[in-house]
């Protein structure tokens, strides 16, 4: 019975991690990723590691998802003209010439 919080924490981590992998859209993935950070923080607290929980909460809930979202925004901005005709191949050719 004393193990119950620990079991719940482990279950939460497993669920959040599985969701992080199975959500394929990176913009949406940021949310299970933040949830995983929170779940790990709680689990570490239950494992009597407050130091680690503190750094995991700050990193996992705020820093990593924020950077993922910013990258998504940047990459989407770049990738969008690709759907249009032949914009991307043209740019690629151009860059290859530059490199040579």
């Amino acid at each position: 019975m004393t193990d119950l919080p620990l079991l719940a924490g482990l279950a939460l981590v497993v669920a959040a991690a599985t969701a992080t992998v199975l959500v394929r859209d990176p913009g949406r993935q940021a949310f299970p990723l933040a949830l995983l950070g929170l779940a790990l923080g709680v689990l570490f607290l239950l494992l009597q590691a407050p130091d680690v929980a503190l750094s995991q909460l700050a990193v996992g809930c705020a820093l990593t998802p924020l950077m993922v979202l910013l990258t998504v925004r940047k990459a989407r901005r770049r990738a969008r003209p690709r759907g249009r005709a032949d914009a991307a191949p043209a740019r690629l050719r151009h860059e290859e010439e530059d490199r040579e």
């Binding site: 130091d51 700050a58 950077m67 901005r77 770049r78 969008r80 003209p81």
Partner: protein, 274 residues
Amino acid sequence: MSRGLRRWVLALGLLGTAVLLVLAARGLPAFGGSAHPYGERAVHAALDRHTANTVAAVTFDQRSFDTLGEESILFGAVLGTVVLLRQTRDENRLPPQPARVSPPVRRYALLALPVTLLVGLYIVAHGQLSPGGGFQGGIVVATALHLLYIAVDYRALERIRPIGLYEAADAAGEAAYVLLGAAGLLAGTAFLANVLPYGTLNTLASGGTVPLFNAAIGVEVACGVVVLLARFLDQAVEIVSTDADADADPDADADSDTDADARSHDAAGEEADT
């Protein structure tokens, strides 16, 4: 390799790894067991040096050389990100637009900012006593500064964030750690040795060099994270490539332009208030 074949290879590999991991787990000491030879010795050594938070003692005293390696990775990663995300020749910088923030969000964020900043500094300063230290506190401080982006807008954040200064401070934090380690050599013992008097257990000035190492790491982590986020935010908010600029995000541009006209005097007025 075809997609189907790749799936089979992956399934085989994962299955094999799973079997090995389960076998290994059965060979590990049982979870919750009471035999922790290293842990007991580490606790003993930490209390010998009057450091109440034994985790800080392990990080910055007993294993401080390992921490030097870790923070060098951190420094290298920040440096690499700065180089990778710099503005290239074919990119332009758009001045960020003022943004409307709903008053409750603004009030809450401006209230939370100084509190979070103080908590972060507290966590760094009390690393040798209570859970916390330079790594955790540094991130809290860096995140606190970004509440200004939520509370006001990107221009306000840029005003309190001279990147050059933070980059220099990041390097200074790394250098301070090495120099503190070299102090051990000057004192005639070893590199990174704990040379200061240990003080009284459970007071702010206990643990010898542990609080100083904590402060150095705190500066490095806080400035490193600020620089990292600044580079990502610059890329996401300000920097646009010239060739994709015209058609890359018509909706986003149109959106911010029309809004900017409506808001500019509004935002200026609000700034005067804050």
